[in-house]
């Protein structure tokens, strides 16, 4: 039982344990002040100043905690809002306009919603492929094309004014359309959930796949459209969730959760409002699956597995390995499959009491 791999795991485990043990050292004169820390984060330190900061933080528990706290709030600046002048919006104007046009097109011409959808993995793959082909797929959409031409024709000053006026409205509109789209998708997929023995999934219409990916492909990374989560149901009826934007949607689309870092929020109105739900976990959460309106599984770094069976209170489920987890699929509060970052899958059928490698 003393293989090289096991020794490596022991070292990793020891590192995690010993480095996470709280150390009592307090602030010293050489501790980073907030201004220096901020400068470091924004790339404003260089040369000796940067080296000095790194050397200090390498051994200072307080400053390490500050760096960690900064990282946990990084997602905050990645989110949109507030109205931050004009310039940051300009680069996103074209893709946003294109995204809006694509969403409008899709809403106006719905696909064959009765067609069973692909398993989550396939939809993700399809999305990734379409993302990779973003310029081509956008170019094929007349509306997006027209929008781009129209925008391109505007003078710089006009663009500036237009951006200021249009951007918030555009964002609202995209959010609204995305919510509508989710509701349609969920409504259409509902029968597939009920029929657990449904036949193997057929290929969805190309339009649906393209539509599912188009807004995400065209929108900027942090645009509100990214909040649109895609609920996917596999051929055998197992409910899984694609957390494209860290939203985990239950079979009832009004009930959903979203994760950002270690933060979990719960919504009972389809994502219009969110309430933070404490989990007691500091580790970053990476994915989730909600097989019912009350049951949700979340996984994260360092072997973190969380389960709620009432929608609000979370308990940590023991996981046999300290390893980063990347995905979870679940059928109920007892049965779930968890993927590790290195590609292995572990399953439980007793609510996490025991796990089996598959």
């Amino acid at each position: 039982m003393d293989t090289s791999r096991e020794r490596d795991q022991s070292i990793e485990r020891l590192l995690r344990q010993s480095l996470q043990t709280p150390r009592p050292d307090g602030a010293t004169d050489s501790c980073l002040d907030a201004e220096t820390l901020a400068a470091w984060i924004d790339g404003g330190l260089s040369g000796a100043a940067l080296e000095m900061a790194q050397t200090h933080v390498a051994d200072c528990a307080r400053c390490q905690s500050m760096v960690g706290a900064m990282a946990r709030t990084n997602a905050v600046v990645a989110q949109p809002e507030p109205e931050r002048g004009l310039r940051p919006w300009l680069p996103w104007l074209v893709p946003l306009t294109a995204a809006a046009a694509a969403v409008v097109l899709w809403v106006a011409v719905p696909g064959d919603l009765s067609t069973p959808q692909r398993p989550a993995e396939e939809v993700q793959t399809q999305t990734a492929k379409t993302n990779a082909q973003q310029p081509a797929s956008l170019g094929n959409q007349p509306q997006a094309s027209a929008a781009r031409t129209e925008t391109g024709a505007a003078s710089s000053a006009d663009k500036k004014a237009e951006t200021q006026a249009v951007a918030p409205e555009l964002r609202k509109e995209i959010g609204r359309l995305e919510a509508d789209r989710l509701q349609r998708q969920d409504a259409a997929a509902a029968p597939a959930v009920a029929l657990r023995s449904a036949p193997a999934a057929a290929t969805p219409p190309a339009a649906v796949a393209a539509e599912a990916s188009a807004p995400a492909a065209a929108a900027p990374p942090a645009a509100p459209t990214a909040e649109g989560a895609r609920l996917a149901r596999s051929a055998n009826g197992v409910v899984g969730t694609i957390t494209g934007a860290n939203q985990i949607v239950s079979p009832n689309p009004s009930i959903r959760w979203r994760i950002a870092g270690s933060v979990v929020e719960h919504s009972t109105d389809g994502g219009s409002s969110w309430a933070a739900v404490p989990t007691g976990i500091a580790a970053e959460l990476t994915a989730g699956a909600a097989p019912s309106t009350l049951v949700c599984w979340l996984v994260g770094r360092g072997g973190v597995v969380l389960l709620t069976t009432d929608g609000r209170t979370w308990r940590r489920v023991a996981f046999p390995e300290i390893t980063d987890l990347s995905a979870v699929r679940a059928t109920d509060a007892r049965t779930a499959s968890v993927s590790t970052a290195d590609g292995r899958i572990l399953t439980t059928s007793d609510g996490g009491v025991t796990w089996e490698r598959r």
């Binding site: 990793e12 344990q17 706290a69 709030t73």
Partner: protein, 290 residues
């Protein structure tokens, strides 16, 4: 050190400082304070590069807010409050950091009078980062300090209280604890021998649980590089630990038992507390992370 007037004028325009009616001399003072803080400006070219790279618009806004300009304050609050609150919620999802965020406004406005002058927290902002990042850093600092203070003040559970942890029921394995202690000591030495940058990477990844991407960003390297460097560092640590254990006089079998003592453990542990159990004290909580 005084900055050339033409350069100040150019930076003033670049910062759109006239929007907030910041007096040129006040803006020049802010630039000088920033350059002095960074000790930039040994050569004029270097000084100009440094000043040009500053977040000048934010610096102008900070100057105006520090001076109490109403429209600047309105703009600042409108623009920064959502970020600040979301940062507070990210730090403490239970809402506990919101009061810290709120209390910042008073300090930013500068309620304390010193020699008849309002001292605003903005005087510590030198434009080397955006205002948003600086505010996050101030909030993070306050939050961390409060957590550390609370931790120090937390009383140990009373022996008779329900919070007191039970003594272990199973017999203690002194040999295993010896191995654990040995490997802990050797690991500590191995980590101490690493270059600061490697220690920082380990701390980011294992102690602060940053992602590889976040770790890489902080260290100015690609996440793939962070991943490779972490793997290299772990290998180096393991080699060093094994070498030290052998030098300590352990046989190969005993070295293997040292490593096994770690992997046999059922959950996260605080070695010091576990060792305290061996001396008759209470057992640590089984899972410190939840």
């Amino acid at each position: 050190m005084p900055i050339d007037g033409k350069l100040v004028d150019r930076l003033y325009r670049q910062a759109s400082a006239e929007r907030w009616r910041v007096p040129v001399h006040r803006f020049a003072e802010a630039l000088e304070a920033s350059a002095g803080h960074e000790r930039a400006g040994a050569q004029s070219g270097e000084l100009e590069r440094y000043l040009t790279a500053l977040h000048l618009e934010d610096l102008a806004l900070a100057c105006a807010c520090a001076a109490g300009d109403e429209s600047a304050w309105e703009h600042f609050i409108l623009e920064q409050r959502p970020f600040l609150y979301r940062a507070a919620d990210a730090l403490d999802p239970g809402g506990g950091a919101r009061d810290l965020a709120d209390s910042l406004y008073a300090e930013l406005f500068g309620l304390r009078d010193r020699a008849g002058e309002r001292q605003s927290l903005f005087r510590y902002f030198h434009g080397r980062s955006s205002l948003t990042t600086w505010l996050r850093a101030v909030l993070a600092q306050r939050h961390v300090d409060r957590l550390r203070t609370n931790r120090r003040l937390e009383a140990l559970p009373d022996e008779d209280s329900s919070d007191a942890l039970p003594a272990p029921s199973s017999p203690i394995e002194p040999e295993r604890y010896r191995y654990l202690e040995l490997i802990r000591q050797t690991l500590k030495r191995a980590v101490a021998h690493l270059p600061p940058r490697d220690r920082l990477r380990l701390a980011c990844y294992y102690a602060q649980e940053l992602t590889l991407a976040e770790t890489g960003r902080l260290l100015g390297e690609h996440e793939a590089t962070s991943s490779r460097q972490l793997a290299r560092t772990r290998r180096a640590i393991r080699d060093d630990v094994e070498r030290q254990l052998v030098e300590y006089g352990l046989t190969d079998v005993e070295v293997a038992q040292c490593f096994a003592s770690v992997s046999q453990d059922a959950g996260p542990l605080d070695l010091k507390q576990i060792l305290d159990v061996g001396s008759g004290r209470k057992e640590s909580a089984p899972d410190r992370s939840s």
